[in-house]
């Protein structure tokens, strides 16, 4: 397949999708650059570690949602099993650090390689499945991973989880000051967004988009559908594992229910990307930037005589967002910008 064909594929996609593509890619690039400049000083300026914690988690979740978005958004493969890759990244770094004293800077790439290998193994059979079948099958993998990690005393320490001792230092990726985690997770977010941006404009990126829009047409156009999906999944899984390592070193305690939780981890990446704007570059960032602080705010400020009131609100927000923000925040913003432009004309 050469780039002409890729363009042809893009041109044959339905109109709304093309609009998102055109205005999306350029606007998104500008937007991301703007966000980067605007947000980098933020964690450094905040003295308050409560907000720093929220900022760290927001960056991390934005990065993870961005990693999910590569396969879930660009390629339209609605994986609910990314908790597996996340867990591999978290556990690999944690085990190597606590048992072998290996720096997580080495543990992270090892975890990424392992996650990629597992991703390819899982994907090879499941990529034949579409839509709900794919989502449910990947969710099943998440549950298998949970049960196995909980069951095995070695190397994962079973239900007791892994406690990472506090040894501050750059080499151990553990810091006394919280803002350093902010820088670290921001770099991670930047890395994920950068790779997504490059990917978006690459041949593989176009192939993934073509696969999302119409797999048969993509195949007819000469695209190696399975190959493209596998490569997209590999990149997505590796980046997710890197996020898992950061999570483990930030919390310094991981156990199976924390790492393989469907609502907190596995499904969450997808939800953040969806609410932000699935398949767009700024979508995952917007989704995390909205949801993570709102959740924290609700938990801290809704009175607690009614347990779960904060989550009732969150659930309602999700339903309403699905109804009225169908293309996510990014889509709504794009519409807003377009409407403004029209008025100016």
């Amino acid at each position: 397949m050469d780039s002409n064909e890729a363009d042809a594929t893009v041109l044959t996609t339905p109109a709304p999708a093309r609009q998102v593509l055109e205005s999306g890619a350029r606007a998104a690039a500008k937007f991301t650059a703007g966000m980067a400049l605007a947000l980098l000083p933020l964690p450094l300026a905040l003295a308050d570690s409560y907000w720093l914690d929220i900022v760290v988690v927001t960056y991390l979740m934005a990065g993870l949602a961005g990693a999910w978005n590569i396969i879930g958004g660009f390629a339209g493969q609605f994986s609910l099993g990314h908790g597996v890759f996340f867990g591999i990244g978290a556990y690999t770094a944690a085990i190597l650090f606590t048992d072998a004293g290996m720096s997580p800077w080495f543990g992270m790439p090892i975890g990424m390689v392992l996650a990629t290998a597992v991703a390819l193994l899982i994907s090879w059979p499941t990529f034949r499945l579409r839509g709900p079948f794919f989502a449910i099958a990947t969710m099943a993998f998440n549950q298998v991973a949970f049960v196995l990690v909980n069951y095995l005393d070695w190397p994962t320490n079973g239900p007791r989880g892994i406690l990472i001792p506090f040894q501050a230092g750059l080499a151990s990726m553990i810091f006394q000051q919280r803002w350093r985690y902010g820088v670290l997770t921001f770099l991670y977010l930047l890395l994920v967004t950068g790779i997504a941006l490059l990917l978006r404009r690459s041949r593989l990126g176009y192939a993934l988009l073509a696969v999302r829009e119409d797999e048969e047409a993509a195949r007819a156009a000469g695209i190696d559908v399975l190959g493209a999906k596998l490569r997209g999944m590999a990149i997505s899984a590796a980046l997710t594992a890197a996020g898992g390592t950061l999570f483990a070193m930030y919390l310094r305690f991981i156990d199976p229910p924390t790492v393989f939780s469907l609502p907190d981890i596995g499904v969450r990446f997808a939800l953040l990307a969806l609410i932000g704007g699935i398949g767009t570059l700024p979508g995952p960032v917007l989704g995390a930037a909205l949801i993570v602080p709102v959740e924290n705010f609700l938990r801290a400020h809704i009175t607690t005589d009614w347990p779960g009131a904060d989550l009732v609100v969150l659930g309602a927000v999700m339903v309403l967002a699905a109804r009225f923000l169908r293309r996510g925040i990014a889509g709504a913003l794009a519409d807003g910008v377009r409407a403004l432009g029209r008025r100016r004309q």
């Binding site: 003295a47 308050d48 570690s49 409560y50 720093l52 914690d53 929220i54 988690v57 049960v147 909980n150 069951y151 079973g158 239900p159 007791r160 989880g161 406690l163 001792p165 506090f166 006394q176 919280r178 919390l251 310094r252 305690f253 156990d255 199976p256 229910p257 924390t258 939780s261 907190d264 924290n296 705010f297 938990r299 801290a300 400020h301 009175t303 607690t304 347990p307 779960g308 009131a309 904060d310 989550l311």
Partner: protein
């Protein structure tokens, strides 16, 4: 700058609350503020709230008696149902509290206490069970309540001192099935039980694990029934414990003694199984308000104060242990003359109160890991739909008699 941002957010989101909070703060400018980290949402909210009710009663009592160090004590809640939320809750409260207390969930305690250390605040744990928490030797972590090991030891003591005599057998002639839910809570207690029972010479008929979310436990019960143990010990949560008992009833699995650990002593179990079926069954749990006054002085007062304030009986015994833990914390603060980390820890290290000093029958004496070694669970027996403390013998109130372990039959 920081204050104004915080105030702005409060005003923006919850104006009424902010006004009330700032007024309260003005009134109690010198108050000692304690952050209570517990799950107030999510499936464990019932118990997180119950633990905090215990804190509230202890704090009210102290305030009514003139406060601590002449200052009023104020509780602030921090909601955390998972470790990441534990960090967040600590960070949110750290600027406005002097000490942290918690926590119904061990995983939350783990992350939250670590975050509290960065603010050099003591994390006084009253209710978390995991052994690892004190083994970390964090300079700010102190546990006033029993840990998983204490529960394992307590349950094995009950086998030796209560069940074996009641069955007219030697411990070495008993065969025991150890069943547990498969998270850290059940598996750590079960592992310790196994070691202790083997050391006591009992025969281990089998060890079984099941997920707490299981919706069928027939296979588990059939396995246990095949092994035909004299004693069936189970550590789990309420739904799986109920299911296990119902399935045992269906399958005619009737060991001569059944000992639940941690749960099984609340109305949630009674309403599922009924008084007749529960008759005689034992539960190793946190001490209850019905302990003998000489064993746990003040336990009755707690029950009455609870009813007055909340309008119903205590939901679970965790609240009483939390109440006592908060009392110990306030005593330690009084002794230290400060809430500063090093001073408070030194005061805790110096505490030496004999057993039966508190309503739970606990004393206060911390080991090198700052685990209270005088915090022991007690054993209740279901008798005619009521939970009656029967073991240790000193804990049983006057006139309490042990009913046959396997019901009326």
């Amino acid at each position: 700058m920081r204050l104004s941002r915080r105030a702005a957010i409060r005003l923006g989101g919850a104006g009424m609350l902010a006004v009330a909070a700032s007024r309260r703060r003005a009134q109690a400018a010198e108050a000692i503020r304690i952050g209570a980290i517990n799950p107030y949402s999510g499936p464990m909210a019932l118990y997180g709230t119950e633990v905090t009710h215990g804190y509230e009663l202890a704090v009210e009592r102290a305030n009514a008696a003139g406060g601590v160090l002449g200052r009023q004590v104020v509780l602030l809640r921090g909601d955390a149902a998972n470790p990441q939320q534990g960090i967040s809750a600590v960070e949110q409260l750290a600027p406005s509290v002097d000490v942290f207390a918690g926590t119904y969930l061990s995983a939350v305690s783990n992350a939250a206490s670590d975050a509290a250390l960065r603010h050099e605040r003591i994390y006084w744990d009253t209710n978390a069970l995991a052994q690892d928490l004190t083994q970390r030797d964090l300079p700010n972590f102190i546990r006033s309540g029993p840990d998983a090991d204490a529960f394992a030891r307590g349950s094995v003591e009950a086998v030796k001192g209560l069940i074996a005599p009641a069955l007219g057998r030697e411990v070495k002639d008993l065969s025991v099935w150890i069943e547990h839910e498969d998270s850290i809570y059940g598996s750590s207690i079960a592992a310790a039980q196994r070691t202790l029972l083997q050391a006591a010479g009992a025969k281990i008929a089998g060890v079984g694990a099941h997920p707490a979310s299981a919706i069928d436990l027939t296979d588990t019960v059939l396995r246990a029934r095949r092994a035909a143990p004299d004693v069936f010990i189970e550590t789990g949560y309420v739904p799986d414990g109920n299911l296990l008992l119902r399935t045992s009833r269906d399958q005619g699995f009737t060991p001569r003694a059944t000992l639940f650990v941690g749960t099984g002593d609340t109305p949630e179990t009674l309403s599922s199984l009924g008084a007749a079926f529960l008759e005689g069954k034992l539960v190793e749990s946190y001490p209850r308000p019905d302990v003998a006054p000489a064993y746990g002085p003040g336990a009755q007062d707690y029950a009455e104060a609870y009813r007055r304030k909340f309008g119903h009986d205590p939901i679970a015994p965790q609240g009483l242990t939390a109440y006592v833990g908060m009392q110990m914390l306030l005593e330690a603060i009084a002794a230290a003359g400060s809430t500063e980390m090093a001073k408070l820890r030194a005061a805790a290290a110096a505490m030496d109160r004999p057993l039966h000093s508190y309503a739970t029958g606990f004393g206060a004496k911390f080991d090198a890991h700052f685990q209270n070694i005088r915090a022991l669970p007690t054993t209740i027996q279901w008798q005619a739909g009521r939970q009656v403390t029967v073991f240790p013998e000193a804990a049983a109130a006057a006139g309490v008699r042990l009913a046959p372990l396997s019901g009326r039959g």
